[in-house]
């Protein structure tokens, strides 16, 4: 019975933490509840997120607010075409030691933070973009032949603008695949716009309080991985991923017609981990089919590459995945 009490307590704490995060963020950010939930899920799963939306929708504000309430170190990198990798990772600089000798000392770049906001990531050159690859995958940075470990929790939140594509460098597929979620920032509704106006055009500024620290986040990460998932539910996730492959078992017609490359195994990992996190945050001890379904779009949307025919016909990955969800049965 003690074990059960402990598990129940964990779930309650995780749920409570999430509720607090949502409440606190909502003081600074209007709307975007689903986006905030997905960001939190990515955080407790140890993943990185790519936020895509037109300018002025509050992408940066959301990320900055999240950094504040989590009591985690936060840094922002504004990606520009002239940004160099060393500007992100840091570099060895020549300094004097206490004895007056000249030595090289590693000067940490902005990547050395718990939460890194890579603003307008697609404006930097591929060389600079790839500077983030090692940090995102290995959670370490190698400068001058020496690897520097990044602190946990480490999370990259990159933003990109789908318009004004002139002078931008689309992210390479390898880097896109390393993002746990790709989240689309939607335009606010009428009511939300009114509240935004109230919140941002008056003298009252929202000061956010800290609700979670790094240890809490790491603890929740451990709990997430302990959530049991039935083989039948796992099989459903596997079939969903396979359905995005043109030659996969149970691939749907739209997939066969418009997809060039399907999701990688990282897509499956994202689905299952995110579903586990979602069930934990819902205070449920097991993963449901609905958990899997709810994370398919953010988890697989950026991992499928459409062909030119899809571009020509205006087919989006979301549309393909919607059909995949409709066609793949939960239980065979």
């Amino acid at each position: 019975m003690e074990v059960l009490t402990e598990v129940r307590e964990r779930m309650a704490r995780a749920g409570h933490a999430f509720e607090e995060v949502k409440t606190e963020i909502s003081r600074a950010v209007v709307g975007h509840e689903e986006l905030i939930e997905q960001l939190f899920i990515a955080l407790v799963c140890g993943g990185h997120c790519l936020l895509e939306g037109v300018p002025g929708l509050g992408k940066t504000l959301i990320v900055r607010s999240l950094g504040e309430i989590l009591n985690l170190t936060f840094s922002r990198i504004q990606f520009t075409p002239d940004l160099m990798p060393a500007d992100i990772t840091g570099t060895n600089v020549l300094t004097d030691d206490p004895s007056g000798r000249k030595i090289f000392e590693f000067q940490q770049g902005p990547v050395f933070a718990h939460i890194v906001l890579a603003d307008e990531i697609n404006r930097a050159t591929p060389k600079t973009q790839s500077a983030l690859l090692e940090a995102m995958q290995e959670q370490s940075v190698t400068v001058g032949g020496k690897a520097h470990r990044l602190e946990s929790p480490f999370m990259v939140l990159a933003t990109q603008n789908p318009i004004e594509m002139e002078g931008t460098y689309p992210l390479p597929e390898a880097q896109i695949d390393r993002f746990f979620f790709k989240l689309l920032v939607q335009y606010p509704s009428k009511e939300e716009l009114g509240r935004i106006a109230d919140l941002t055009t008056t003298s009252a500024s929202a000061s956010l309080r800290t609700v979670l620290d790094a240890d809490d986040v790491l603890t929740i990460r451990e709990w997430v991985r302990e959530v049991p998932i039935a083989d039948a539910v796992k099989d459903y996730a596997v079939r969903l991923v396979l359905a995005t492959h043109t030659a996969g078992d149970g691939s749907v017609p739209l997939t066969q017609k418009f997809i060039l490359y399907g999701s990688s195994p990282r897509g499956l990992q994202s689905l299952i981990l995110a579903a586990k996190a979602r069930s934990l945050l819902s205070a449920r001890p097991n993963v449901s089919f609905e958990d899997i379904r709810s994370v398919v779009l953010p988890g697989l949307g950026h991992r499928i590459i459409l062909n030119l025919e899809a571009d020509a016909e205006g087919i989006s990955p979301e549309k393909v995945l919607a059909e995949v969800l409709e066609r793949v049965p939960e239980v065979l």
Binding site: V3, L4, E6, V7, R8, E226, V227, P228, I229, A230, D231, A232, V233, R284, P285, N286, V287, S288, F289, E290, E330, V331, L332
Partner: protein, 478 residues
């Protein structure tokens, strides 16, 4: 083991057992539906099947054939169990707690979060009754099966099968009537030519009945009844019973009887009142002719009379008696043939089995006929030496086989075979007497006279001609 584990295991077993039962029932109903559908489909081909394959055997037969296939195609496995649990989760909004708990129960040990899943699933499933929760649902197979069964039953009752001999319902009686008419015509001709009164009456009755049915006035059932009536009537009106005749006629074949009748008729003109033979004392010519008629000679000897001492009146009386006996015997045999024919017709009306029996009878009759022909050597032709024909075994065949061979118009064209012998003719005396040859000609003439080929007006003239052949020849000889 905790209470929740026990409760869950019990509930899951109960649920899966119930779902399995429902599925089995569903498959059975599906198989039954398709069995009935196939039975209805093959019903028109009923007549093409073997006699034992009645319409009532179709559904169980198809059921036995299809059921193993259906059960093997859809065996109960893990997938089916998962489906049942998935349905349970959906119905009770358990958010996959049942499926997860079921899988965890299959493991030896449950960790912290897994124990919580079992606990929560156990709490929610504690009071459920799978039978009440998942009631039987009737598929479209189950809904359509009872009406389909009724349709099948109705079709079987109406005997909607397309039989080979009948294109439309009721045509069987017409077909039988046609046969009957054909048979009665032949019978009438034969009876008229041979003077068979009782057979002629029956032939008239049969023709009348056939005409009625051909006009569509009678039904199959009525026809059957009428035929049965005639059948009984024949039994009552038989002119002479088998063995009652004082002659050796019952052991003689029909051909033998006809030959004998011809012999009698050949001799009769010579004994007509006013002729020389009608006197008390027989002329030598008549005595000589008597000696050349083997069958008649035999009967005279059987009557313990002597040809040399025989007087005209005695001979005349004997001939009258013998002729009446022959006619009565022919009449009796003809009636027996009619009876056999009617029996076969009645069987034919009775259904497929009757038709099979008819075919068998006809085949047996053909076999018997060919064997009889072989046994007799030359069939209706004279024997190879004078006076020996009667010594052959001429016992009438068993009734079943023999009578069917006489059913003219029913047999149709059979297979024929012939063998031509070619060789040099050897000049020697004929082994067959002239009287024998004349008798065979007369008999053939009788057969031809009985047919429709010869106009009625000429029949008597032709008959007289052939009867006079022997006399003319003997006069020439003198």
């Amino acid at each position: 083991m905790s209470d929740e584990r026990l409760i869950l295991q019990e509930r899951f077993s109960e649920l899966l057992r119930w779902e399995r039962l429902k599925r089995r029932e569903g498959i059975m109903v599906t198989v039954l539906f398709y069995s009935l559908l196939l039975s209805v489909s093959v019903l028109p081909a009923n007549a093409l099947l073997a006699p034992w394959a009645g319409a009532f055997y179709f559904p169980p037969l198809f059921f036995l054939i299809l059921a193993p296939g259906f059960f093997l195609r859809r065996p109960w496995g893990r997938r089916e169990s998962l489906r049942a649990l998935f349905l349970l989760d959906k119905t009770l909004r358990l958010e996959e707690r049942a499926i997860t708990a079921w899988e965890i129960l299959g493991c030896k040990e449950a960790k912290g979060a897994e124990q919580l899943v079992i606990q929560e699933a156990g709490e929610r499933l504690r009071g459920i009754d799978p039978r009440a929760l998942f009631k039987r649902e009737y598929s479209w197979h189950a809904i359509l099966t009872p009406p389909l069964f009724l349709v099948w039953l109705l079709l079987v009752w109406l005997d909607m099968g397309v039989h080979l001999e009948k294109g439309v319902p009721g045509s069987q009686s017409i077909s039988v009537a046609q046969r009957l008419k054909e048979f009665s015509r032949d019978l009438q001709e034969r009876a008229k030519s041979q003077g068979l009164n009782e057979s002629l009456k029956i032939a008239h009755a049969l023709e009348e009945l056939a005409e009625q049915n051909l006009k569509g006035e009678g039904s199959e059932k009525k026809l059957s009844g009428e035929l049965a009536g005639i059948f009984n009537r024949i039994e009552d009106t038989a002119p002479v019973k088998e063995g009652e005749s004082e002659l050796t006629l019952p052991s003689t074949t029909r051909e033998g009887l006809v030959d004998f009748k011809v012999e009698l008729e050949t001799l009769k003109p010579a004994l007509l009142p006013g002729s020389a033979g009608a006197e008390n004392k027989l002329e030598p010519e008549i005595r000589r002719r008597l000696a050349t008629l083997p069958r008649l000679k035999e009967e005279i000897e059987r009557s313990r009379l002597s040809i040399e001492k025989l007087e005209g009146k005695e001979l005349h009386g004997l001939l009258e008696r013998l002729e009446q006996g022959v006619i009565a015997e022919l009449d009796r045999r003809t009636l027996l043939e009619i009876k056999e024919f009617l029996a076969l017709l009645l069987e034919g009306i009775g259904g497929k089995e009757g038709r099979e029996a008819l075919q068998a009878q006809l085949q047996a009759a053909q076999v018997w006929l060919s064997e009889t022909e072989k046994a007799k050597g030359k069939g209706s032709l004279p024997g190879d030496r004078p006076g020996t024909k009667g010594e052959f075994s001429q016992t009438p065949p068993p009734f079943k086989a023999g009578a069917a061979t006489q059913l003219k118009g029913l047999l149709g064209e059979g297979k024929g075979s012939s063998l031509t012998w070619r060789g040099e003719a050897q000049g020697r005396e004929s082994q067959i007497s002239q009287e024998e040859i004349l008798a065979s000609y007369r008999r053939q003439a009788e057969e031809d006279l009985a047919s429709e080929r010869i106009p009625e007006g000429l029949k008597e003239t032709i008959k007289r001609y052939f009867l006079s052949l022997g006399l003319t020849e003997s006069k020439r000889g003198e």
